[in-house]
Symmetry: C2
Amino acid sequence: MALIKVHGIPLSGATAIVMICLAEKGVPYELIPVELAKGEHKSPSFLSKNVIILHTVWLIPALEDGTITLFESRAITRYVAHKYKGTGTDLLRHDKIEEAAMVGVWTEVESQQFNPPAVKIIYQQFVAPVKGETPNQSIIVESVKKLDQVFDVYEARLSNSKYLACDSFTLADLHHIPYIYYLMKTPWADLITSRAHVKVWWDNIAARPSLLEAAQGIDEFAHFSMNRFQFGSG
Amino acid sequence: MALIKVHGIPLSGATAIVMICLAEKGVPYELIPVELAKGEHKSPSFLSKNVIILHTVWLIPALEDGTITLFESRAITRYVAHKYKGTGTDLLRHDKIEEAAMVGVWTEVESQQFNPPAVKIIYQQFVAPVKGETPNQSIIVESVKKLDQVFDVYEARLSNSKYLACDSFTLADLHHIPYIYYLMKTPWADLITSRAHVKVWWDNIAARPSLLEAAQGIDEFAHFSMNRFQFGSG
């Protein structure tokens, strides 16, 4: 059987969660780096015909599994977790309806509540300087305030539950990895470290081999961008 | 067996998709209206103890099914579609792995690509005037431009597929209902009507009994807000 192919940028958060998910499931794959700078993600040749109608960053990451081609990182991880439910980490808790329902709830909380402000902070802190833009402090302040409220809810939840959906590590936790990893490298790491249960939760996640494996690519990006940021704002 | 309880505001898009989903599955439920104005959604008494740690609008809508209490509308619809897979409309295409995967992809497209700009337009057009705010035209222009790109992709997709995920109506289509219903009442309805395949797709959806049933509550809100808007901006 042909290997699964992941088209993406190892340094992007969305690609990283797909790679971490495949590592958690122990599923081998071939990574096909896409160079955004060259516009390869807009080229009809890089993916099979059924998705070339789609364009721009929607295509990053994409997963090819035989005749199936998927995009949108959270749809890809759910597909992988479902298809390989018998191997590796049980990321969806299929056999326990209440836990499975909670995986659904907390993956949506990540998507709707955590992700939007987190993306804004990471963009202003790491991406804007690389693009020669001045970080917008009012966007940062507003997003930090929103995340502060989000983590208050997480702190209460994690005082009753080892992980977000249940006492096991699931997709709901996994989807947070890249952006919390980046946040920990900003002046707002205390959003995590100042909350006892959130800190223990993150410490447990940060020790997972799947994260350590992905961290090299993430670090390259973070270090590159932070160096640029220091020069850019100095 | 006790009826499922839906806590929500019939006029909110998020509550509407839960109600439409339950109608598509033919599952009876009890609607428990929550009056935001009275702050009932922040009251510990209105939901069971396992969710009172959560606060503000995260709780709208919530679904209680026996001992399980869920929030986040897209998690609720997936739970309902999964639990009642044997009855009503097959919203997840469980038995066809490729179609099921595409339901996952296109529900994420709705959540990540369609919803953010659609929410901004609806807010500026209908909600801001009710709150005594002047609609921000630059937010509207930027969001319409983004939606224009999104619907270009939909048009291409729907030229090959009757519905977004496959040739059957699924959750991926259902999640679009409230905000497209509202968009059709704005000056930007041509985002939908100017595209041949998108228009046919929406016409098919708009004829579903589940939508017509929900439309009464939606219309009350839309008419109320549009009247206010006309006064407010006149």
